[in-house]
Subunit: 337 residues, 2 copies
Amino acid sequence: MDIKDVGESNLIQRIADTYRPSHSSIIVGIGDDAAALSVSSQTVLLTTCDLLVEDVHFDLSFTDSYYLGRKALAVNLSDIAAMGGTARYFLVSLALPPHLSLSFVDDLYRGMMELADECHTQLVGGDTNASPSTLMIAITVLGEAHPDNLLKRNGAQAGDSIFVTGTLGDAALGLLLLQNGPPHTAPSTVHTLIARHRSPLPRLTEGKKLADNHLASAMIDISDGLLTDLRRILTASNKGATVFLSQLPHSKDFEQNHLYPEKTKIDCALAGGEDYELLFTAHPSKEKEILRSSTTGDAPITKIGEVNDSQELVVLDHDQKPYPVSHLGYDHFLSTR
Amino acid sequence: MDIKDVGESNLIQRIADTYRPSHSSIIVGIGDDAAALSVSSQTVLLTTCDLLVEDVHFDLSFTDSYYLGRKALAVNLSDIAAMGGTARYFLVSLALPPHLSLSFVDDLYRGMMELADECHTQLVGGDTNASPSTLMIAITVLGEAHPDNLLKRNGAQAGDSIFVTGTLGDAALGLLLLQNGPPHTAPSTVHTLIARHRSPLPRLTEGKKLADNHLASAMIDISDGLLTDLRRILTASNKGATVFLSQLPHSKDFEQNHLYPEKTKIDCALAGGEDYELLFTAHPSKEKEILRSSTTGDAPITKIGEVNDSQELVVLDHDQKPYPVSHLGYDHFLSTR
């Protein structure tokens, strides 16, 4: 059996099942956004790594090295945000094809370091290597959290509300515009959508605020699409959920973009991925404080659904009828739990 | 200017010069074997990452996935050993070509996890991805040390003796045997040399003992060859050195291998690389304790040279005459300091 027949998540599950770490210092091992390691009674060390592979995770005809550098770091910082932590340090391993220009690498670092400055994160090491042909960027981020404030995936309770930060579908619509080539008559707003694809913002401030104020019961960042990442929370928590299409938050540029049919846009929001917004669950009693906390310059927070005790994830459309998601590959949605 | 015109160490230097970390918690940033980060008055967090790229760092016709897994982790653990630290946790990012078999990945993990068990190190996370064609393994190791016991590269003093653990040249001679195909009549001892190339042992116990007993003034692991790695200590410490060819330690299998001319073997020991032994300097007053400490089942330790105030690195042959190293690319040996 080959790797292509197994799939990434099955492979990770296989590894996690075979090598379940048992050391008492490991608070969270494989299978959450970041590992959480006890270093003192006051501090949990968070660590996560993400590898970006050319022509798998990025296409150099759709981005440039500055934005690629920003994004490679952003997706890792987003994992720290999803634990409610503070990012502190990062390491960068590069595999560089020989034909790459020095200015490409300089711009890649410039992008990374600008975002690192914005997020108060320090570059402390790395490894630079030749690659026969494919560019790869492996980043490890180290962060920290208070042990009482960690936000894992497995804490969702029946009756909890489901929230997201920011808006959904922008990044996927931006990628679609890049892939199809925006028409010359496209409104200038397409640039905002493309920027959301090229340069996601890790929600570190929002994640930490939710964690430190004990507002959320479970959290994840949306890297692979709302449905996939919500499914991860539900599977870890052994719950089901209903999501209301009418409540999904969209940017003005997303709303006003009529280059694609409505259904395509809905699918971007449900399954497009790469928004790197935070998706979290919370007890209804926290709702007021959550929505209030989002008015101070952070990303807005929107309630989009409810957790329940079923084993199903149902999306309801504007008429409260189930929105079919089979064409998105979610036929047996929670069947692999 | 392209990457291929710059070279790896110049690129790393360029990055380190541009982005010199300034945060007070960073005890050691880019440019040593591992970064050292202050987490408490008693503990320094060590972190290092190494990326192994197919057809650059390994050739799948010379090894198998079990040994590749062991080696990928070993080279990272060796960096923790070179700081005098204890390895605690690791993360693994893989880029896997689609044609790879599942058993290949299972064996890769089996190799990693066996060495991890031997070294009391825990797998806590990672990332698994598709790769268009090239297999890559990026590992990050987290370790710890007491802040007073850290061993950096920049502490060598004039008058210090130079020591190495274990034996030199085995891994390079083993690779040569693999590349040329060992003759059918080759003695069985070639297997030991090949094993040294395939499966290096990180010298964690030895490194920690040297650090905890304050026996060494500077330390590095030999990944790129004795001369290159000694040069790194000398450059960081602003010193020169003399190395005595007659004192280089060799394994019995290395000594008894007569498939290659003596000069080839000397060059393997001086510049071959991948021995992953520890190279360190120490005040002469520590010599007796150092040599005594190596008799208890650890790798033996051998004195191979002396640090001086010159700006030169000189290798003396058995007749105490300078051994020419220009054919190894060391013409202007310390000129780039």
